[in-house]
Each structure stands twice: as C-alpha cells, then as structure tokens.
C-alpha cells in the first residue's frame, strides 16, 4: 500500500487540477463547495476523530468565519484581512469561551459578498475561485498532516484512547483538548470565510445546529481519525444529495437510509474498508494456522 501512495497522490493532484475541464460552471461551483467543506470537516476530524472529543457546535465557527468575512468586506476591508481574522477569531473564541453553541439572530442575511482579488487577478469566476480554494485546501491539508505527524499527533491519539493514562505520562490533557477544539474551530472559520465568498449570500440558516449535526455525520461517515476521511465524508454530505436529486421527493429518504445502512456496515467509516480487509485476512490466516496445527496434532496423536 505504501508503494502506491506517492503515484496515487500525484494522480489525485493531476485530477484535481484537470477537473475544471470536465465541468461546467455549476459543476465547478459544486466542486468548490465540496472543497470548502473538506476544510471544515478536516478541522472537526481533528477534534472528534483524532482527539476523541465530542463536538456538536462546529457549524457555529463556520458561521463566525462566514460572517466575519462578510461583515469586513461590507465595511470595505479586503478579503485577505477577513480570512486570517476569521481563523484567529474562531481560535480565540474557542479558547476564551470554551464552549460550543452559538446564538443566531437576524434572518435577513448579507448578500452581494464579492470574491477576493489575488495579486490583482480577480477570483470572481467559478474557475478561478475553484483553483484558489483548491490551493488553500491543499495548504491546510498539508499543515494538518504535518501537525499530526509531529509529537502533537501522538498526544492527541493518547488523549482520545486513554486520557487517564495520558495524563499519568505527563501529557497535558487540558491543553491538548483546548487545542484540538481551537484548531478545529479555526479550520471551520477559514472554511466559513471561503464559503461566504463562494455563495456570495449568507444567512444564518446554514450555521444552525442541524448543520453541526450534518458536519458530525460527515466526519463519522468518512472515517474519524483517518486523514482523508473528510474528503469522503464531505462528498457524501455535500455531493451525494445532489446526485440523488433524480429520486426527487424521496432523495433525502434514500440519503438518510443510506447513512443508516452505511453505519451498520462500516461503523468506523468508509475509510475503514482497507483495515477490515486486513483484519479479515489476518483472521483467516490465524484460523487456517490453527486448523493446520490441529490436524498435525491429531496425526501425531494417531501415530
């Protein structure tokens, strides 16, 4: 499996770069939408997948990010100030309030949010914005990868699997817990900022509890604690309902039922499929070995 990783990654990268050619404007919009959610779900995967925490308020930070950017741009400030402000604000909000819920108010929403300009190039078009979001997704994914590979990654896993033991080994449970929430929130904030410029109109609806619940669903479906889980999970949560539109009135029913069946079949998420194959193979080998030695023992007893 390890041998295939690099060529697979390059292939995936090439596909991502070439994707726009296969899609028209709406398709690109959808792909970008998917990428935005991948960022948000990567953050939630850190909090609940790698650090084992419980979080049902993630969409709140998505919303904070979106509104921060929207409000700042309405005030004439650049997107490039809004984006880090959104991430920082979410990070700080988490550290300061240590809490998860967010009150919504004001259903009017903000519209006509412009897309940012990068070095004088406008990102208004769906194509340009797609590449922009892709770049940020890859960057943030890379940073997360680095973080998880560092000692912090092991500390988070220890925190998830056995907090009491972790503490007795000198791992500062409180700090790592806060960090897992704060970083996750910051990712959601960035995603929210990108979301605001993508959809160019925001109201509180996408940031309510139902969204937090959907985000939770996306992490678990993809596979909590698997690095690429968010890619699959977001696909299921964002792209799948679009595909199911052909079922018309019943498409959400099919989606819901699919989620239930998927969970029963793959409780550890879609990315646990390779692990299950391995486990099944090992079990088969073990029982074959047992059978063989039992036969040998029987033969020995007969002799």
């Amino acid at each position: 499996m390890k041998k295939f990783t690099l060529p697979l990654l390059l292939l995936a990268f090439a596909v991502l770069l070439a994707a726009p050619m296969a899609f028209k404007s709406y398709g690109l919009y959808l792909l970008t939408y998917w990428l935005v959610f991948i960022i948000a779900i990567m953050g939630l995967n850190l909090t609940i997948g790698y650090a084992g925490q419980k979080s049902l308020g993630h969409a709140a930070f998505f919303g904070i990010g979106a509104y921060t950017v929207a409000i700042m741009m309405k005030a004439g400030l650049s997107f490039w100030l809004g984006l880090p402000a959104a991430a920082l604000l979410c990070f700080v909000v988490w550290l300061v309030f240590r809490n998860e819920e967010w009150l919504t108010g004001g259903t009017f929403g903000l519209n006509n949010i412009a897309r940012p300009q990068l070095f004088g190039l406008s990102l208004e078009g769906n194509l340009a914005y797609y590449y922009f979001v892709l770049a940020i997704t890859l960057l943030l994914g890379g940073l997360l990868w680095g973080l998880l590979r560092s000692p912090w990654g092991k500390a988070f896993t220890a925190l998830r699997d056995n907090p009491i033991r972790a503490e007795s080994l000198g791992i500062d449970i409180r700090r790592y817990t806060l960090l897992s929430f704060a970083i996750g929130a910051a990712y959601a904030g960035v995603a929210g900022a990108l979301f605001a410029s993508l959809v160019q109109f925001i109201d509180p609806a996408p940031f309510a509890i139902a969204s937090s619940i959907m985000m939770y669903l996306m992490v678990v479906l993809g596979g909590p604690g698997y690095f690429l889980g968010p890619v699959l999970g977001s696909a299921v949560g964002v792209v799948l309902p679009e595909w199911l539109r052909f079922a018309q009135g019943w498409y959400l029913f099919v989606f819901g039922s699919a989620v239930v069946l998927l969970m029963i079949w793959l409780p550890d998420g879609l990315l646990s499929i390779p692990d299950r194959f391995k486990a099944r193979k090992q079990a088969r080998q073990a029982s074959a070995a047992r059978a063989a030695s039992a036969q040998a023992a029987a033969k020995g007893a007969q002799a």
């Binding site: 560092s150 912090w152 990654g153 220890a158 007795s168 080994l169």
Partner: protein
Amino acid sequence: MTHPHHHDRPQGVPVLKVTDLRKAYGAIQAVGGVSFEVRPGEIFGVIGPNGSGKTTLFNSMLGQITPDSGKIELNGEDVTQLEPLELNRRGVGRTFQTLQVFGKMTVRDNLIVAAQEHQGSMFSRLFAPSDSGLGDKADALIDQFRIRHVADKKAGELSYGQQKLVDIAMAFMSEPDLVLLDEPCAGVNPSLVGGISSLLKELNRNPRIGKKSSFVVIEHNMDFVMDLCHRIMVMVEGQVMAIGTPDEIRANKQVLDAYLGS
C-alpha cells in the same frame, strides 16, 4: 531539557518521604497516619489485606486524591497537593492495575508518547520530528523487555502478558526517579511472574536508560514481593503494622497473625 528538579537530588535525601498521611471517606478512616521513607534505588513493597488502605495511599501519592492531612515529599520537595500531571513532570512514573496501553498505536509509539512531553515545550514539540528523538531510548527499552518482535504491531493486538510488559516499559521511558507499580502481576499467567520479577530487578539495578530509580510496589503475590523487594511495609486497616526487610517481616509475629497466616 528535562524538568529542572528531575536529576539534581541532594545527597542523603530519601526519594519519597510520607509523613502522617490521613484520608477518611465519611466515617471510614482509609489511611490513618501512615509514615515511611523510600531510599534512592530501593524497591519498597506495600502489602496488606484488601481494605487496608494501600490503594488510597497509592492514589494520594499519585495526586489522584488529596489527603486530609499529612505530607508527601519527593526528593525533599513537598508534592502533597500536586496533580498527576505535575507529579509525572517531577519524575514519578506509574503502572496501572488494569492494562492501560494505547491500543491503536504501535508498541514503539506507545513508548515514545510515554516520554515525549518531557522534551521541550508545547510549541517546540509541534516542529519536532515524529519520534521526538526518543527512538533510540525506546529501542533500548524494547530490547531490555525482549519485545522487539512485536515492536511495530499495534499494542491492542498483543497478548495480555506482552501488553503488561509494554505497560511497565511506558512507566520507565521518562526516566523517573520513582516508579509506583500497582499490582504488576495482576491477571498475569503464573509462568510469566518470574520473568516480570527478574525484569524489574534488572531495571532497578542495571537500567539501560537513565539512572537507578526507586520502586514502590503493591502486590498480593507474597513470593513475588518477598523475592523482589529490599524492604516491605505491611498495612492493616489504614495503619502501618510493620516496616522491614523480607526476613524481618516473615519473622514478625504480629504480621503473621494478622495477615500471612500460620
């Protein structure tokens, strides 16, 4: 850089000094005025019938519970009110009665994570290599514990006895001055008990990493305790009945009557 207090212990000061420790749960005096010392490099056993207060004493020493009164000193420093995290940073390691390994991590990673928080600061650890430079140390312990053949397997896939070894190894990774072992033989196959005993002796006298540490061992397996420990403390009903060498304890009439039986 490891914690400043960790290795510069003034000479002659006992590693652990417990003075008149008391803890009551309602009307029950679980620990009623216990005092003892553990000398550097010593293996100190704590035995006694169930309900004698051993576990409460242990948990107090580990910061899991706060005693009602009394003092606990580590290398001369008062650590009575400290939490488990702080105690670990000051050089106290422990094993658990029930297995507490990180099942989804490899054995090697288990050992690395057991000591990584003692290197550098939170921030510097973000940029440190994956094994925090502890790879060699982990390998040394893996060899000493003779678990090289399973070092790269997930800890959860090992047999109970092997996991027990990993559990014990983890306590030693941070080079603690004092290691508290909570029933290291619990649930272990009798044929492995001897192995654990010689391993602990080796760790005490010939550590491959760090310097000699002191152990406090709670165990019910009498042969194991008598064979392993330099000195033994007998607790009955929250009080210290006797402290002495294994021979002294075996000859102590009071202890025989109350605990060891005739």
